[in-house]
Amino acid sequence: MSTAVHRRMLKEYLAIQKNSATRPHLELLEPIQEDDLLHWQAILLGTADSGYEGGRFRLDIVIPTSYPIQPPTIRFLTTICHPNVHFKTGEICLDILKSEWTPSWTLESVCVAISSLLTNPEPSSPLNCDAANLLRCGDMAGYNSLVKMYTALYAMDEDQE
């Protein structure tokens, strides 16, 4: 069944393999099984200048059959403390995954955008109010130590399966 979504995902897959050297904060972006291009996983690396440093954050990516007319569904599998990520479900509040989606985005550019969201949180549309409130009060020390604590607690295991 060579439908439009499979042809496009195959193209993205080949491009991702070719560009792998150009993504410092994306350790991995690949289909979970070679023969199913509609279910992917990714691992984001916490950047050195943030409370996420040293953390590895696993994402679950589901491609709808209507992709790229509809966006992929992406959530964190690794527990993460971030104002725009739901602490329990891993749901991500990012406009390009919802109302601002357009087919010009790719899995790769979306993962880069999520990685960028980690260091540039948006406390005005929170899914995690505790983290957002610290930011809104300007309590950067409190915010960073909370982020660091959860990163050490959940994102630094050798084996996260």
Partner: protein
């Protein structure tokens, strides 16, 4: 140096990190994390496959409505006790929940108008450049002649008709540059008209200033 995103005339994700701003313009003092106490339509987690989990983790319109009604009941009880500050808190909460109920059913811009889709131009293959690709399917136009043909939007971006029509049936903008095209959606039409009136009024004011200065 031009980035990957420039080369493909795509939006650079490094510059586009705006989280979803559904409630950004509701200036309420209270912004509760609803998800912790959100009643779920489906609580049987064992029955969920990984494919469904993403979809069901989003609170739906009904969830917000039910929660708003619940707080409405609380509010009536508070009224009897005369605690004004608490009442105001509940009022804000209820308003916000109803806003969410309205917003959660909408995903992005409204559909393009039927007549716009019907009248999309047919573009001859010789009009597109040799290595131009349709950004929806990522396929080169020249190598992909079997389809229903090529079309272009008023912003001059080219697409396969088969690719752009399903998008326009959902959203009235260009996938490449977000330039708007007409919509039949009454809310969109009203917003457009209001914006034009506001612009007209602003221009009239400038004229007046000039006349009396």
């Amino acid at each position: 140096m031009a980035s990957y995103f420039d080369d493909h005339s795509l939006e650079d994700p490094y510059k586009a990190r705006r989280p979803n701003n559904n409630n950004a313009n509701s200036n309420s003092r209270f912004n509760p994390d609803l998800s912790h106490f959100m009643p779920r339509e489906d609580t049987d987690e064992t029955a969920q496959t990984p494919y469904q989990m993403g979809a069901t983790s989003m609170p739906g319109e009904g969830d917000f409505r039910r929660l708003a009604q619940l707080f409405g009941t609380f509010r009536q009880r508070e009224e009897a006790l005369g605690d004004e500050e608490h009442q105001e808190f509940l009022d804000n909460l209820i308003t916000q929940l109803m806003d969410e109920a309205g917003a959660s059913g909408k995903h992005g811009p409204p559909p393009a108008s039927k007549s716009f889709i019907r009248d999309l131009p047919f573009v001859p293959l010789k009009e597109v450049k040799r290595d131009d690709a349709c950004i929806i399917c990522n396929e080169n136009f020249q190598e992909n002649e079997s389809k229903a043909g090529i079309t272009k939007l008023p912003c001059k971006h080219f697409f396969d008709r088969d690719c752009i029509v399903p998008w326009l049936e959902l959203h009235n903008n260009c996938p490449a540059c977000r330039a708007e095209v007409p919509s039949d959606d009454p809310v969109w039409i009203k917003k457009k008209r209001d914006a034009e009136l506001a612009k007209y009024a602003a221009e009239a004011e400038v004229d007046e200033d000039w006349m009396y200065s």
